[in-house]
Symmetry: C2
Subunit: 239 residues, 2 copies
């Protein structure tokens, strides 16, 4: 995926009408996203928005004492940088590439212009923002009420959906940062899942062997977010 033939993999770009896509296409740049890249730092002015193709971007919040938590995760189903159309220009979040791959990059001013002058991308962007809000609020609840075991399941499922494959390159340390817990907590939770035969874990590589069971072990949060995201996307098809 190094040319522009994969543009339709991003659901938002794919949902555009032919005319809208032709309008935007020349402004898009296909860029590589490497694991760990910080796309924006907290409070930094957003200069580009990104439409992921096969990478995953995490929205992290980092506290003053350095501990962090993942607020939401975005892949091919969406975009990052919605704050530019909301009028904020920046957010208090850090955006990090959680899984390497490619994305289409659009200058923030172009998105703004398109957003203000054409209802099509406006509708799509807003609807996706609504899905993002759902994911954030679900994360807040999950952080409050559910165990690390459950949250790990949720996190794995969200990542799998965005990669569309059952393998994930990610150390326990990094997962712990995303979930905002200790690495040992992830080790323990992952160990349980491995004993159950749900996943296989080897030095920075996780393979999901039994997805149905993973879903069964997960809290409701995954399902709520997925259903709501689908609901909003299905609506997104008609204009």
């Amino acid at each position: 995926m190094s040319d522009t033939s994969d543009i339709m993999h991003n659901h938002l770009l794919a949902a555009l009408s032919e005319t809208a896509r032709q309008r935007i296409l020349p402004k898009l740049k296909h860029v590589e996203m490497s694991l760990g890249d910080v796309i924006y730092e907290s409070g930094q002015t957003i200069e580009y928005v990104y439409f992921p193709v096969d990478c995953i971007i995490s929205l992290l919040y980092v506290t003053v004492n350095g501990s962090s938590a993942e607020i939401s995760v975005v892949g091919k189903e969406g975009m990052v940088g919605v704050a530019v159309v909301m009028g904020g220009e920046s957010t208090p979040n850090r955006l990090v590439v959680q899984s390497r791959g490619y994305a289409y990059r659009l200058p923030a001013a172009e998105l703004k212009h398109e957003f203000n002058n054409h209802s099509e991308i406006r509708v799509l962007t807003l609807r996706f923002t609504q899905a993002l809000i759902t994911q954030m609020s679900q994360t807040a609840v999950c952080n409050r009420h559910h165990s690390i075991d459950q949250q790990l399941c949720r996190w794995l499922l969200l990542s799998m959906d965005r990669l569309e494959c059952n393998q994930l390159n990610m150390t326990q340390e990094l997962i712990a940062n995303m979930l905002g817990v200790r690495r040992e907590g992830v080790t323990e939770a992952a160990g349980k899942l491995q004993k159950l035969g749900v996943i296989e874990y080897r030095r920075g590589r996780i393979i999901v062997l039994d997805r149905p069971q993973l879903e069964a072990l997960c809290c409701e949060c995954y399902d709520v977010v997925k259903r709501e995201t689908n609901r909003l996307q299905v609506q997104g098809i008609h204009f």
Copy 2:
């Protein structure tokens, strides 16, 4: 505050130009909001949006097993029901009146129409949504990393700001529901604050005696949200 003379108390309505306000005014209805009123239930279609004047509305998420958590809180600085302009028509949240008072109610369709046809209210609504998103993500982090003591401080400060008075009618049981913790946890935290002379607590009524100290005891979350909300509102003044 039982007539329509208090319309300017809501910051969004106040920020409208004279012509925009004249356009919307006839569609607004001044309504009383009683403590505990459920404005919308999770998943319910949103028929009206509300612009609080002196009441406070909590966005709650209720899990399948009945435990709950407050995702964000809205008062005179904003509105509830932004999902209608996002295209969602509903959210998986419950909205509850946390502090009684009045609000202006607008049919969802009217807001949508105004949003799609006039940039003024669009800009205001979107910017407020951005502030809401900030609050939600901060809540997620706070739930993960901060103690009940700190969260109680945050919650009190958020409520105080919206009431613009140092007294709050609210039982510990209700606060516990908002924070998504046990009532005993709140009793303990409130006890500490009372011993320190920061608050005075008597049967469903809290009085804040020493706000500076309350802020000092609070985690960073309050400050981040407040600064970000201010930043977005200040921008909101120019069109």
